[in-house]
């Protein structure tokens, strides 16, 4: 199961020029993998992420998500796929400011066929899973950056998605909270969650078990990462000691 991309292309037309954001990408991500997609801006990693997350559709190619072809679905069907199989974590959290943490986490379930009590229970469980059991009634402006991202992760996990897609999840966080969030991802991975992380930071990517590098809309490197992540503390100390 998992994700199976076959010969995916994505072209944009800007004026007369055709931009090949993705140029024949094939990729398989199995269950319980921890993948980091890296690349410079313009390398196509965001486009790939959008297609994987069913926010966007490829120009050509076949995308099997859990064995179902999703590359030609309509907007409503895609929304349902996102609702049931995808969890998103964004760089800027994207929490709704007027809702409590619990309500924010509950949001995806509003768009499913779930009753009130079940929604509440799942949202609660999800928040407990990211260690925010004591922050359920707080609003985003009462939470720190790291807590906000935890809420966002809880929201992404609440519908038990096939894949957790994280787009630069630590981009807006300081190094201490980055470590926390990455530790959380490690935990989730250990619990069997498939995680796809888009980042340009080596440090972040080093937590993943598989690293994919992209350039000009093509995969240029795809290798297993056996290296244990270097302790963050040491990395921080380096510039000082040098």
């Amino acid at each position: 199961m998992g994700i199976e991309l076959t010969d995916i292309t994505k072209f944009y037309r800007v004026g007369v020029e055709e931009i090949r954001a993705l140029d024949g990408v094939s990729l398989t991500i199995g269950d319980n993998e921890y993948v980091a997609i890296m690349g410079a801006s313009g390398s196509g990693k965001s486009t790939m992420m959008n297609i994987m997350g069913c926010l966007d559709q490829p120009t050509t190619g076949v995308y099997l998500l859990d064995g179902n072809a999703v590359q030609r679905l309509g907007a409503a069907a895609l929304a349902q796929v996102r609702n049931e199989r995808i969890g998103f974590v964004f760089q800027s959290f994207e929490l709704l400011p007027r809702l409590t943490a619990l309500k924010n986490v509950e949001l995806p379930l509003l768009y499913s066929d779930m009753g009130f009590l079940k929604r509440r229970r799942l949202a609660r469980e999800s928040l407990e899973r990211v260690g925010l059991a004591d922050r359920m009634t707080h609003r985003p402006n009462q939470l720190s950056g790291g807590q906000k991202q935890r809420v966002a992760i809880a929201r992404a996990l609440v519908n038990r998605p096939t894949i957790l897609l994280a787009d630069e999840p630590t981009g807006n966080l300081d190094s201490k909270t980055t470590t926390d969030i990455l530790a959380l991802f490690d935990d989730l991975y250990a619990q069997g969650q498939t995680i796809v992380l888009v980042t340009h930071e080596e440090e972040v990517a080093s937590h993943a078990k598989r690293i994919i590098r992209m350039r000009d809309g093509k995969i240029v490197e795809d290798f297993a990462n056996h290296r244990e992540p270097s302790p963050r503390v040491r990395a921080q100390e380096l510039p000082c000691s040098a």
Binding site: A76, F88, F90, E94, R98, L107, L110
Partner: protein, 420 residues
């Protein structure tokens, strides 16, 4: 949308969630929402106040009609506009008492009737003289038809009419003007050259504030036969149908009877008029409904202006919340769910405006019902007007909220999340 209809439970849940969300939005933007809904407030207030005023007027007029008795049928001579009698002299058109002999036997739907004769005369008691007093010749059934109580003495009886006695009923007003005793029964007054004995005091006609000119304050009632023998005055008939339901039958029977009595040939137009209050009431009701609809329709144009305000603010709201829309879509909101959310918000705004408008309309209604001499003291907002106002507000919300909501539902989630 199909999916939504297939899952009514989800639709209800989504509606509830959207409503909660919409009310939260409105509460969070209190000032803005207030300003936005002013158009709706004014529209609903104006519509309900206008309807209230017209309904009040209608209620008032109907009440006035009722003072005449809704069962009553007026029968009077009338020269036809066509046919051989169109230039006939009035002497051949006018009624004579014997035209109505046997009417009750031939018209089962008519319960009773009275011949009436009117002429004017000077009346005198000692040195007090009253000129141009209307003398009305009545039959005993008049008392039942008019239902005016006799406060002193007795009514005109069959014996009075049969024997053409020179007796009369006067009103308390008249008694005071003529400086009669308080208990004037048994005293005599001159009507013209003849002496009439007062047998009773009859209560004044219920003063109608709208048809004030209609009522004659100075009236003296004498037996019909007496009046006829003395003056042979202009006469007409007031009949009373057995009930309001048969007033139509009563008119038809009276017409058939009179045509025969007056020997009109088939095809010849009537030489009389038969009019029922009930008929006026029906016509007036139709008129009132039309007037209310037209006025309500004209005023509801203000609601459309209010709707433009709603559309404007909804467009602002959609563009302000582009990221939110993007996020909702990313976590699985279908376009229809987003559409519903914004539609519900627009309708909720309109409902809030509608409720405030209703309150203002109620205040306006109270105000106009207290304008002196405006005949609007009966003004009230009927239930159907409240329902219509809210219905209209909902329609305005749906119509003017549709475009912004559609815009929101069509947003591309990637673009929306990248917004700003």
């Amino acid at each position: 949308m199909f999916r939504l209809i297939r899952f009514p439970a989800r639709l209800v849940r989504l509606l509830l969630a959207s409503t909660a969300l919409a009310l939260g939005q409105i509460w969070a933007n209190k000032v803005r929402s207030m300003l936005t809904t002013i158009g709706i407030v004014i529209g609903v207030a104006a519509v309900t106040a206008v309807i209230a005023a017209l309904s009040g007027l209608q209620a008032k007029v109907l009440k006035e009609f009722e003072t005449f008795g809704t069962n009553n049928i007026f029968i009077g001579p009338s020269r036809p506009e066509t046919g051989p009698k169109r230039n006939a002299p009035w002497q051949t058109i006018r009624f004579y008492p014997d035209h109505f002999d046997g009417m009750l036997e031939h018209c089962p739907s008519i319960a009773r009737f009275t011949r009436l004769a009117r002429y004017s005369q000077t009346i005198r008691h000692r040195e007090k003289t009253l000129e141009n007093v209307t003398i009305v010749g009545i039959e005993p059934d008049w008392h039942v038809i008019e239902s005016r109580s006799i406060t002193l003495g007795r009514p005109i009886s069959v014996i009075d009419t049969d024997h053409t006695r020179q007796v009369c009923l006067i009103t308390p007003d008249m008694r005071d003007k003529l400086r009669l005793d308080r208990d004037c029964v048994g005293q005599s007054i001159y009507i013209g050259p003849r002496l009439f004995q007062i047998v009773g005091l009859v209560e004044k006609r219920v003063e109608s504030s709208m048809f004030g000119g209609f009522s004659e304050p100075m009236e003296v009632y004498i037996p019909f036969q007496t009046a006829w023998q003395l003056e042979q005055p202009w006469m007409f008939v007031v009949a009373s149908s057995a009930s309001t339901d048969v007033s139509e039958e009563a008119r038809a029977e009276a017409r058939f009877f009179l045509r025969r009595q007056r020997q009109l040939r088939p095809g010849e137009p009537d030489t009389f008029r038969i009019e029922a209050v009930e008929q006026f009431v029906r016509q007036f009701n139709q008129l009132a409904v039309m007037m209310t609809l037209i006025a309500g329709g004209v005023v509801s144009i203000t609601l459309l202006v209010g709707g433009v305000g709603i559309m404007n603010i909804m467009l602002v709201s959609v563009s302000e919340r582009t990221r939110e829309i993007g996020l909702r879509k990313a976590v699985g909101a279908r376009p229809s769910a987003i559409l519903l959310q914004f539609l519900v918000e627009a309708v909720a705004l309109c409902f809030v405006g509608g409720a405030m408008g209703l309150a203002v309309g109620q205040a306006l209604t109270y105000a106009i019902s207290n304008i002196p001499n405006a005949q609007l003291e009966e003004a009230f907002i009927p239930m159907w007007a409240i329902a219509t106002a809210f219905g209209f507000a909902a329609v305005v919300g749906l119509v003017f909220g549709m475009f912004p909501a559609w815009k929101a539902s069509r947003l591309d989630p990637i673009e929306a999340l990248r917004h700003e």
